[in-house]
Every structure is written in C-alpha cells, then in structure tokens.
Assembly symmetry: C2
Homo-oligomer: 139 residues x 2
Amino acid sequence: MNQLNQSYGFLFGKVLQQMENKFAETLIPFNIDARQYGVLLFIKENRYSSQKDISQKLYIDRTTMVSHVDHLETLGFVERTRNPNDRRAYSLIVTEKGTRVLESCWEFLTKTESEVLSPLNHKDKQFLKEILIKIWNSL
Amino acid sequence: MNQLNQSYGFLFGKVLQQMENKFAETLIPFNIDARQYGVLLFIKENRYSSQKDISQKLYIDRTTMVSHVDHLETLGFVERTRNPNDRRAYSLIVTEKGTRVLESCWEFLTKTESEVLSPLNHKDKQFLKEILIKIWNSL
DNA sequence: ATATATAATCAGTATAACTGACTATATTTG
DNA sequence: CAAATATAGTCAGTTATACTGATTATATAT
C-alpha cells in the first residue's frame, strides 16, 4: 500500500468523482445537475427557505444560487413566492411537478449509490453513513 | 434526519468540499493544487510513468495532465525524461526538490485531514479508510 | 431621519476541464 | 517491406462553473 492510497482526501475525491459521473448521467433525463438536485431536495425539506438560507446550509455561493434557482424555476420545479415578513427575500417552494421529479430521481440515485458502494456489505454501509454524518455535523 | 443527509453522494460531496478548501489553503505556499499534489505523489510512487499512465490511473484527462506536468516541471518538481523504449512517451521522475516538497506537504495535509476527521475516534478512522480503499479498488 | 445591513441580481472575470485537430513515433497488416 | 492504423503528447479554442464587486430594493439600528 502506498501513500497516495493512504490519503483520505485522495480516496474521498476519487470515490466522489465516480459517484458524480454516474449521478450526472442519471440526472440527464431530468435536465438538472447534482447541485440543483441538492437544492431542490433542500427546498422540499425546508419549505419557505430563502436563497440565502440554502446558500449557507449547502455551502453554495449566493450568486451561483441565483442561477440554480432560475433553472429550477424555468423547469417549473420550484416557485419563488415573496416572504411577507421580509420582502427582500423569497420563500421558495417545490411545485407538484418538482416533487414528482424528486421522487423519480431518488429512486435512480439510490440505485447509482448502491452500485458505487457495492463492494460494501450492509454493516459497512451503515457504519459509513454514521461516520459521514458525524463529520458533516461537525462542519 | 432527512433525505438529503441520507444521501452518500451529498455527504461525500460536502465532506470533500471542506477537505479540498483546507487542502487548497495548505498547498498555497507550495504553489500547487490538490490535483498536482496527487500527480506528484503518483510519480514519486511510480517512477518512469508516462503522462498516459497517470491519466488512466488517476482518472485525469490527458490534456489536463499536460498542464499539470508543465506546471510541476516549471517549478522544478518533476523532470520529463524520454523513454528509450517508446520515444513518444515520457518517463517522468520526481526531482530532489519535488521530493522535499512532497515530504513537507504530507505533514501539513495529514494535519488538515485530522482536523476534518476530528469527530472520529481511532477505530472509526481505521474503518473509514478500509471502506474507502475497498470502494477505490472496485472502481 | 439617516446610516448601515441584508437578499437578491447581474455583468464581467477567472478557473478548470474538455474537444478535436495535429505531430511524432510505434505497431499491425496486406 | 510499405501502407494503414494506433498511440503519447500537445495546443488552440470552447464550454462549464463559480466567483467578484457593484447595484437595487427592503429592513434594521442609531
């Protein structure tokens, strides 16, 4: 075993690179990329979020968020409604169409994940998820 | 717990994003980015590799590899020597200067990794590495 | 009432990777 | 052996993505 394969950063990067490539392919028919999927799911799970909220929680730049939400809105997956308590900010909601897309995507993405994680047994996967959540929560 | 945080892809992505940001900062003084560090380390561990070899093993595009190696050569970290058995291909080697840089980087990067992985105990880390290597080997 | 802060936007810029064509060399095949 | 095909590396130009800094509208603090 060599140093390169001993590096968590390297290993994370390569595993993610493969996942992202497969995700990107899976998402082509839905006309969104992995980031936009993340944003859509975030809005579904956090109704009435502002673009700022999402930017902060998902570590995505505020100006980039504009184009992601533009795109999702153009596709009719989200709606920008105004927040009556702060007319500077939007209250974003996922449309019915967006919800259906999320459900379809989820199915495909879970399948894609399983492929990449296929060398792991159930216990490994469980443990991996726990570990990742621990790290994520500490960020 | 929500769906977003249940997604391995999402969790991988966010953990890596943090790691990459910290790595990038760590590497500023050495004037290379994470990819170039990876290439340098690969050459160190696989003397006389051609650019093609590295491209394939590290899943980096061949044309992108040209600029990475250009950069590493300009800094005097690697040398492009010709492969006498195939004059189309280079035999890349890491210089003494490059070796010293690798050693310094490794120290800093290990420290950075520890920071990101600080919520994990020793056993968690061990397990995580084993799991990542399993996945990497299956790619 | 004025000054400061914030959410969203936009034009312009920067960065990074990829596409496809090209050169030089190697290998295969007829 | 000569011709055709394949391969390693390069480069110009394109594409994709995100960031910088300024701007508008609204909110909050002094």
